[in-house]
């Protein structure tokens, strides 16, 4: 039973930490009343979630997609079309949007996965751009370039509309929790090993029985599904949709960047990356945005360069090292 005791001793601080973080996150809107601060928190949680969705495929399996805006947009448009044209609740539209994105990922994946490395990345960029053009040019499909506003129903929880900003905060917190739980399950199962193996060396993975095309297809579907949920949420949050916001290239970039900065192929990497990048960019913009336009982009870029130069495995490695150093020191002081 020693191993069991060890396991508990090993896991207890982690569970305790997780419970602590969770309760702080849940209590946060009760304490923070500033709408500006809450908006930043929502953005952080949202981009963490998108990063987590991207990281499943881009991080673990190292299939560097820069086209995840395609699924963000498909999710956003699916639920909005269903809501505006058919009066269907975005809660249902969100799931349908996820399924649409999943199905769309099949032909897109079938095309893009024929390519490897940078060629794959370029192909994914193209798919998101093509989808944006489709929604831009085919006006009968969905309002063309002007886009549309979501009819404001006041406080209508069943239609995912709320007076209180805190409600949006809890929704996206829930999404992030789901994304992290899925990642955790995958990471600790055979799938996690297979994905990392594919990311490391696809030929070697095939040699030991890994069905690489099927694994990539499956993880792309999961990643697309989750990204689409973020799309629906975002549209409901800002009450507006047009092709330029829904299929914005910045979403694709951000999804990849937060993971790369935080730590690619790790559970918490995208969250840590988003906290750093979003906070800095939001704070800099509010402090300096009015006087020195564009300065936040400069600092943002400097952070990126610093991380890529000195911490190519992401900030999560830094935290790991620090905690190892602390725990090594402990027995000495005790």
């Amino acid at each position: 039973m020693r191993t069991q005791a060890n396991l508990i001793r090993l896991l207890a601080p982690r569970l305790l930490g997780l419970a602590l973080v969770a309760s702080v996150l849940i209590a946060l809107p009760l304490v923070v009343k500033s709408s500006f601060a809450l908006d930043i928190f929502i953005r952080i949680l949202l981009f963490s979630f998108i990063g987590v969705a991207w990281n499943l495929m881009g991080g673990y399996a190292k299939q560097l997609s820069l086209g995840h805006a395609a699924y963000f947009g498909l999710g956003a448009y699916s639920s909005t079309i269903l809501q505006v044209d058919f009066g269907i609740s975005p809660w249902i539209g969100m799931i349908i949007g996820g399924i649409v994105a999943m199905l769309a990922s099949l032909p897109i994946g079938a095309l893009c996965f024929r390519l490897r490395g940078p060629y794959f990345t370029i192909a994914t960029i193209a798919t998101a751009q093509v989808l944006m053009l489709i929604f831009l040019k085919f006006r009968d499909l969905a309002w063309g370039a002007e886009g549309t506003t979501i009819p404001n129903l006041g406080n209508a929880p069943l239609m995912m509309q709320f007076d209180a900003k805190a409600a949006y905060y809890y929704i996206v917190l829930g999404l992030l929790a789901i994304g992290l739980a899925i990642t955790y399950r995958i990471e600790h199962s055979w799938m996690g090993y297979y994905l990392v193996a594919i990311g490391e060396d696809e030929d070697a993975a095939e040699a030991i029985g890994v069905n690489a095309p099927r694994m990539k297809r499956d993880i792309y579907m999961i990643s697309a599904f989750l990204t689409a949920l973020a799309g629906t949420f975002y549209t409901q949050y800002i009450y507006f949709i047009d092709p330029a916001t829904a299929f914005n290239f910045n979403i694709s970039i951000e999804a990849a960047l937060v993971s790369i900065v935080g730590g690619i192929g790790t559970l918490w990497g995208p969250v840590i990356g988003t906290i750093l990048l979003e906070t800095t960019s939001a704070l800099l913009q509010s402090w300096l945005g009015s006087s020195f336009g564009g300065v936040q982009l400069t600092v943002y870029s400097l952070i990126l360069m610093a991380v890529i130069l000195w911490r190519p495995t992401g900030l999560i490695g830094l935290i790991g090292e620090a905690s190892r150093r602390l725990s090594r020191r402990k027995p000495v002081s005790a």
């Binding site: 600790h188 199962s189 055979w190 090993y193 297979y194 990392v196 193996a197 490391e200 060396d201 030929d203 070697a204 993975a205 095939e206 040699a207 030991i208 029985g209 890994v210 069905n211 690489a212 095309p213 192929g265």
Partner: protein
């Protein structure tokens, strides 16, 4: 003894180069067969054709009674054929244990069972001390060991080893030979591509000699080393060779 692998008239052309031409040979179960020949003779290409990385232009490959031409590599592995690569391909970011577990998942998706099986395979190749090391930190011989353990974890019936001894020093070669001997004792069928003649003589029961994509000789080791064609094309000999010819045939007859 039943036939493990039957290759008939297998051919592959890359543009103007006939890499493998009408190659036929049979590997019996529990036999160790060596594929030898000068560089560019088509040995690694043959491995790639057998294991599904390249599709032969013609001919058939049947393993344990089933035609496997056209199957993707992972299906061929699931059918019981595991291979290693000429240049070891460890999953660098993973630990040794995680590398081998990935192989073990082919037969059982439960993490605990895969871990036990992986540990067994790691112990078998003598890498237990480095179980938790990242694979990228391993030395050349340990990377080869890791590849073998990873292949073994898929529970193959036939193991294809592509130059596992290249770059090893004499004592490491002895260790590798002993390891292959142990694998053979376990009942595995082995096909080995190798340049180190000393090792081939120690492990192989049957040798197939390739030159320019064609089989030029086949037989027991002692017959092969005396075969005139083989000596001319590959092994080199005191009586036949001129210095230039020996250089060209990249004679790797280990001096050690």
């Amino acid at each position: 003894m039943a036939d493990a692998l039957v290759i008939k008239n297998m051919s592959k052309r890359f543009g103007g180069l006939q890499a493998v031409q009408d190659l036929s040979f049979t590997v019996r179960e529990n036999e160790t067969l060596a594929l030898i020949g000068p560089n560019g003779a088509g040995k690694t290409t043959s491995f790639n054709l057998i294991t599904g990385y390249r599709r032969p232009d013609g001919g058939s490959v049947s393993a344990f009674g089933r035609e496997i031409v056209g199957l993707p590599p992972h299906d061929i592995c699931a059918h019981g054929l595991a291979r290693t690569f000429q240049v070891a391909k460890p999953f660098g970011a993973m630990t040794v244990l995680a590398n081998v577990m990935t192989g073990a998942f082919l037969r059982d998706k439960t993490v605990g069972i895969a871990r036990d099986k992986a540990r067994e395979a790691i112990a078998f190749v003598g890498l237990s001390a480095k179980e938790e090391s990242p694979a990228r930190d391993l030395t050349t011989i340990d990377q080869r060991r890791l590849e073998m353990a990873r292949a073994l974890a898929t529970q193959p019936r036939l193991l294809l080893l592509d130059e596992v001894m290249a770059g090893l020093n004499p004592s490491e070669i002895d260790q590798a030979v002993a390891l292959i001997g142990k694998l053979s004792e376990r009942g595995l069928t082995i096909v080995i591509v190798e340049h180190v003649m000393r090792a081939i003589m120690a492990v192989a029961r049957h040798i197939v000699v390739l030159d320019h994509g064609q089989k030029i000789a086949e037989g027991a080791p002692k017959d092969i080393v005396e075969n005139e064609d083989v000596i001319r094309a590959y092994l080199g000999s005191v009586t036949v060779h001129a210095p230039a010819a020996a250089g060209e045939s990249s004679c790797s007859n280990s001096p050690a």
